[in-house]
């Protein structure tokens, strides 16, 4: 056919040939059409039969929208069943970045509908910058119905926006439990990579980011529910198909006493410090507060620029859990422990030494904190007057090893089995340790420093509380956070009871007798507190006296105690960083211990203090945030992920790592008590940050 027509323009073309050609060509056309018809039928069969399964599935996944219902997170309760972390029903709005079509417009519209402030908008944009496309980003939670509804009705025009009635985490006592409980937050991309549970990228689901929330993530998580709905292409729900209820996470019951925890945290006030309270029967930790803290409620929606700025501007390291991560030279609080080691080594407690304000060892003079001297000092006086010369003298005779062994037996330098994200266990120095660490021989002045809790000695407040509780009970108490082991048998330390009784009496005399901390006495006639003060120097005398001057150079104040002294029930350790001495610590310990027997009396006192401090910890934090909002607004710098992790690392750094070598004797710092009431008034409020004008009128020199 082709050949015929190729040159037909040269031949004569008649109507007949054209007719002929028409007939042939209609056959061709018909065949082509038929062929296409067959092709279409084949394609139809292929789609409908061979690929039927695939497309059926696709149609189903179009039609049915399976949305996970985030499980209600397990509650965290205190020993009495009061919630420390619970869930609050709320209305929330999230966006899924990769589903937004015009994200700038959508976000702007959300901002208008939800009445977000410029700071909120900036934080939201930061979150969006960091987010992976598939992971939901929280726009707002805890919304009222009007604003929630305003967004809900516009959902068809706002692709990628998810509104939800769900639950958000609620920490009733806020900053008081920040370090203990931690906080929750949207799962990061790294967390999702590690654990490919789809619940992690469900809008509204939060994972534990710190503290117990992080440790017990799997227990608290629960099982998500699911809701199958039929949806249109634009996301409008046509009808519910079925719903599976979520299974709430497990409840975690702690040994913590919520009231005491809150009280302890608030009582620290504007200081930087930590309070630990333990039960002397079981080892239960009743309170472990570290301040300043953060409000886990406001961290749970992500940490915004202003919040980072607040953390960065605070030299009190609010991100560090000082109970576990703070390491301090324990100062004189080790003296009862050292005394026990002396007795165990065979020292007669009545053997005395003359204190003339110092002791010459070799060619060095080691000073007692009281340069005027204590006169003749036996062991009891060594403890209650905190005489350094007594310990210098006998420590040389006994040697460092028995002291270090007793320190470890009582819990110093130990890491405890606790559900916490990290512990710094510090240093109990002894000759072998020094040789290992510095390759240097142990020197006499090292022993001398160690017996007064200086030199290389570094402990954390939890260890001090354990030490206090073990001295009080004579048992190997292990600190515990999980409730339910109250009646487990506890082994004895193996220290003879008469040794313990001797030390108990001396510690009682610290408070109730001729000791260093009269004002630590409890306001009860029948309950006597036993304790030991400690003042640890931070820098040498040539830099600062430790009492005044820059906050960073002031001495740490310690106090360990238990009560009642003859039938120990509770033990407590308080550390106030740079508090200027133990007088910053023991009033807090006294009030915390008072709370255990008479909460109302203790609270009355606290309320008075808080009037001067500008409210509770939470109120002060909120006020500070507001002042940052008005001062900086949206001008705060953006915080990169590296900076965030650097800040967190900083708060977790182990201070033992860069412990400098000590080449000399360290001077003990004066204990405040003997000088009497003139100092006491100032001592209770050595607060560099508070508004001193207000404060002196409320509590100056009241005791």
């Amino acid at each position: 056919m082709k050949f015929n027509f190729k040159f037909n323009f040269k031949r004569h073309v008649s109507m007949a040939t054209l007719r002929n050609s028409f007939d042939r060509r209609t056959v061709v056309l018909g065949s082509v059409q038929g062929g296409i018809g067959v092709l279409l039928a084949a394609r139809m069969s292929y789609l409908a039969v061979a690929q039927n399964e695939k497309y059926k599935l696709d149609a189903e996944s179009n039609r049915v929208n399976l949305s996970l219902i985030p499980p209600r997170r397990g509650w965290i309760l205190d020993r009495r069943g009061t919630p420390l972390a619970s869930n609050r029903a709320d209305f929330r709005v999230d966006v899924i970045p990769e589903r937004m079509q015009d994200s700038a417009r959508t976000i702007a519209q959300l901002g208008k509908l939800l009445e977000l402030s410029p700071v909120d908008m900036q934080d939201l944009e930061d979150k969006l910058d960091k987010a992976r496309g598939f992971a939901p980003v929280e726009v707002a939670s805890n919304l009222d119905w009007e604003r929630f509804a305003a967004v809900s009705v516009r959902l068809p025009d706002l692709p990628g926006v998810v509104t939800q009635r769900g639950y958000s985490r609620d920490y009733p006592t806020g900053p008081s439990v920040g370090h203990l409980i931690g906080y929750v937050g949207a799962a990061s991309a790294e967390e999702y990579e590690k654990d490919h549970d789809p619940i992690l990228i469900t809008p509204g689901y939060k994972v534990g980011k710190d503290g117990l929330e992080k440790i017990f993530e799997h227990e608290l998580r629960g099982k998500p529910g699911a809701r199958r709905v039929e949806v249109t292409a634009s996301g409008r729900i046509v009808r519910d198909l079925d719903t599976r209820e979520d299974v709430p996470g497990k409840t975690i019951k702690l040994t913590i006493d919520s009231g005491l925890q809150d009280y302890a945290a608030r009582r620290i006030g504007v200081e930087s410090g930590a309070v630990v309270v333990m039960d002397c029967h079981s080892g239960d930790v009743l309170a472990m507060a570290s301040m300043p803290s953060f409000d886990p409620n406001s961290f749970s929606d992500g940490i915004g620029r202003l919040e980072w700025k607040m953390l960065a501007d605070d030299d009190h390291v609010p991100l560090r859990n000082k109970v576990l991560r703070g390491l301090y030279p324990p100062g004189s609080t080790v003296k009862p422990m050292v005394a026990l080691s002396f007795m165990e080594a065979g020292l007669d407690p009545d053997e005395s030494v003359f204190c003339g304000g110092g002791l010459r060892v070799g060619n060095r003079v080691f000073h007692c904190w009281n340069r005027r001297g204590h006169g003749q000092v036996n062991m009891a006086k060594g403890i209650y007057q905190s005489c350094d010369v007594y310990f210098y003298h006998f420590a040389q005779r006994i040697g460092m090893d028995p002291i270090a062994a007793m320190a470890r037996r009582l819990g110093l330098g130990q890491e405890f089995k606790l559900p916490v994200v990290g512990q710094s266990y510090g240093t109990v120095p002894d000759p072998a340790w020094k040789l290992r660490k510095y390759g240097k021989e142990w020197q006499t002045f090292d022993t001398v420093n160690a017996t007064i809790g200086q030199g290389y000695f570094l402990v954390n407040p939890l260890q001090q509380a354990v030490m206090a509780s073990r001295i009080a009970s004579g048992k190997v108490l292990m600190p515990r956070l999980l409730y339910g082991h109250e009646n487990d048998p506890v082994a004895s330390l193996g220290i003879p009871q008469d040794h313990l009784d001797y030390v108990h009496q001396a510690m009682s005399d610290v408070v109730n007798g001729p000791g260093t901390a009269h004002r630590a006495a409890l306001p009860f006639d029948d309950i006597k507190l036993a304790g030991k003060t400690g003042t640890a120097q931070v820098v040498g005398l040539h830099i600062s006296s430790g009492k005044t001057g820059p906050w960073k150079y002031r001495d740490h104040g310690h106090f360990i105690c238990y009560a009642p002294f003859d039938k120990p029930r509770y033990a407590c350790a308080v550390i106030i960083e740079h508090g200027g001495g133990s007088s910053a610590a023991y009033p807090i310990a006294r009030d915390v211990m008072t709370y255990l027997w008479d909460p109302e009396l203790a609270l009355e006192k606290l309320h008075e203090f808080e009037k001067g401090w500008g409210g509770t910890a939470k109120e002060r934090l909120d006020a500070r945030y507001q002042s940052y909002v008005s001062q900086y607004g949206v001008s705060a710098p953006k915080v990169s992920a590296e900076e965030e992790s650097r800040k967190v690392r900083e708060s977790e750094e182990d201070q033992t790592a860069n412990q400098p070598i000590v080449r000399d004797a360290q001077s003990p710092r004066p204990e405040p008590v003997a000088t009497g009431s003139a100092e006491a008034g100032a001592a209770e409020n050595p607060n560099p940050r508070a508004n001193s004008g207000d404060r002196t009128t409320t509590n100056g020199g009241t005791q």
Partner: protein, 370 residues
């Protein structure tokens, strides 16, 4: 058919084609009824009514004499070109593109009417062209101009699908008129070269996207590939027997774009399955086969070209639409004849059917030839 009972005018109608066509329109009505969520309004009722109205029109057309067709060919063509210019200028004045004229009672797309008109005018042209000139430039250039003018105007709108349909109809007539085959072969080779160039220069962004999407619809399932993907899901998920009348989730939940117009076949296939699909293809097969056989039976050049061209025009609609919904062709806005909701397409197709019926009538009465 018993002539004593049935009136002659009725008995003469091509029932072998009309009855399947009625069935197809009814199925179309049923699908539109379902697509409207189980309501006659707004699609199904107007669909059937339009069909009936245009059927009457087709029968009227089929009563026209061959001479009337011949005489009307150039005026009709010219009139529609004028309308196309009018649409273009109204659109330009309105500051945007426009494809239709509002006649008050209906909107009219002149470009649609051009599809049968080009067939008519070319049939007339080749009839009057002396057979000896068919291989010369005189057989090609005037026809090319006749096709080129409306195609150019329609492409300006821009409506690529309709422009292609006009070119296709014209090319088929040229082919059947007996133009040298090697012209077509060279044109085909030329097109193969020109298409990539045109793709990057002439096509609008959205048209280019449609082509790219057709080549790889899964690349962007939520964007421009959405149409093809959703259509294939609708057809594929229907299976052999379909999901049942009124149970198509793809169309009812609006995953399927344009479920009542361009993608009506997918809507149908989801509910009626492969069986329904085969039925539709078969009916089109019957109608087109009938059209071609009418063309072959007709004794004169004008009639045979007219009938074959009209058949090819309907075929072009059907083939492009079905290939599009099954993912074999890019998305071009071409509706499926007799099933898609839409007045203009129904009008065009019924003009085609009416013209073929007219040729059929002329065939039956060879006397009218003279």
């Amino acid at each position: 058919m018993n002539r004593s009972v049935v009136p002659d005018a009725v008995a003469r109608q091509p029932w072998q084609m009309l009855i399947p066509l009625f069935a197809l329109v009814s199925l179309g009505g049923a699908v539109l009824y379902s697509a409207a969520g189980g309501h006659l309004q707004p699609y199904a009722l107007s669909h059937v009514i339009r069909f009936l109205v245009f059927l009457v029109m087709a029968i009227v057309i089929s009563r026209f004499s061959r001479n009337l067709f011949r005489q009307a060919a150039y005026p009709i063509y010219g009139g529609i070109v004028v309308l196309l210019v009018l649409v273009e200028s109204i659109g330009a004045m309105g500051g945007g593109s426009q494809r239709w004229l509002n006649l008050g009672f209906m909107t009219l797309q002149p470009s649609e009417l051009m599809k049968p008109a080009i067939v008519l005018v070319l049939a007339k042209f080749y009839e009057s062209l002396p057979a000896s000139m068919i291989g010369s430039w005189r057989g090609l250039v005037p026809a090319g101009v006749l096709i080129g003018i409306p195609a150019f105007l329609v492409i300006l709108q821009p409506d690529l699908g309709t422009a292609l349909a006009i070119c296709f109809g014209g090319a088929i007539i040229m082919f059947l008129a007996g133009l040298p085959l090697w012209w077509f072969v060279s044109a085909g080779v030329g097109a193969l070269i020109a298409i990539p160039i045109a793709f990057f220069t002439l096509l609008h962004g959205y048209q280019r996207n449609r082509v790219l999407t057709f080549l790889n619809p899964e690349e962007d399932p939520l964007g421009t590939g959405y149409h093809i993907t959703q259509s294939k899901i609708a057809i594929g998920s229907g299976g052999i027997f379909g999901k049942g009348f009124g149970n198509g989730s793809q169309s009812h939940l609006q995953y399927l774009p344009e479920p009542h117009t361009d993608f009506v076949f997918a809507t149908m296939a989801e509910e009626w399955g492969m069986i329904g699909g085969f039925f539709v293809i078969a009916v089109f097969g019957i109608v087109l086969f009938w059209g071609l056989s009418v063309a072959r039976k007709s004794p004169d050049r004008f009639s045979s070209l007219l009938a074959a061209g009209m058949t090819a025009t309907v075929f072009f609609y059907v083939a492009i639409n079905l290939m599009m919904v099954m993912g074999l062709a890019p998305v071009v806005g071409i509706p499926l004849p007799f099933m898609s909701h839409g007045g203009t397409s129904m009008l065009t197709n019924m003009i085609c059917i009416g013209s073929i019926m007219a040729v059929n009538r002329w065939n039956q009465k060879p006397g009218s030839f003279s």
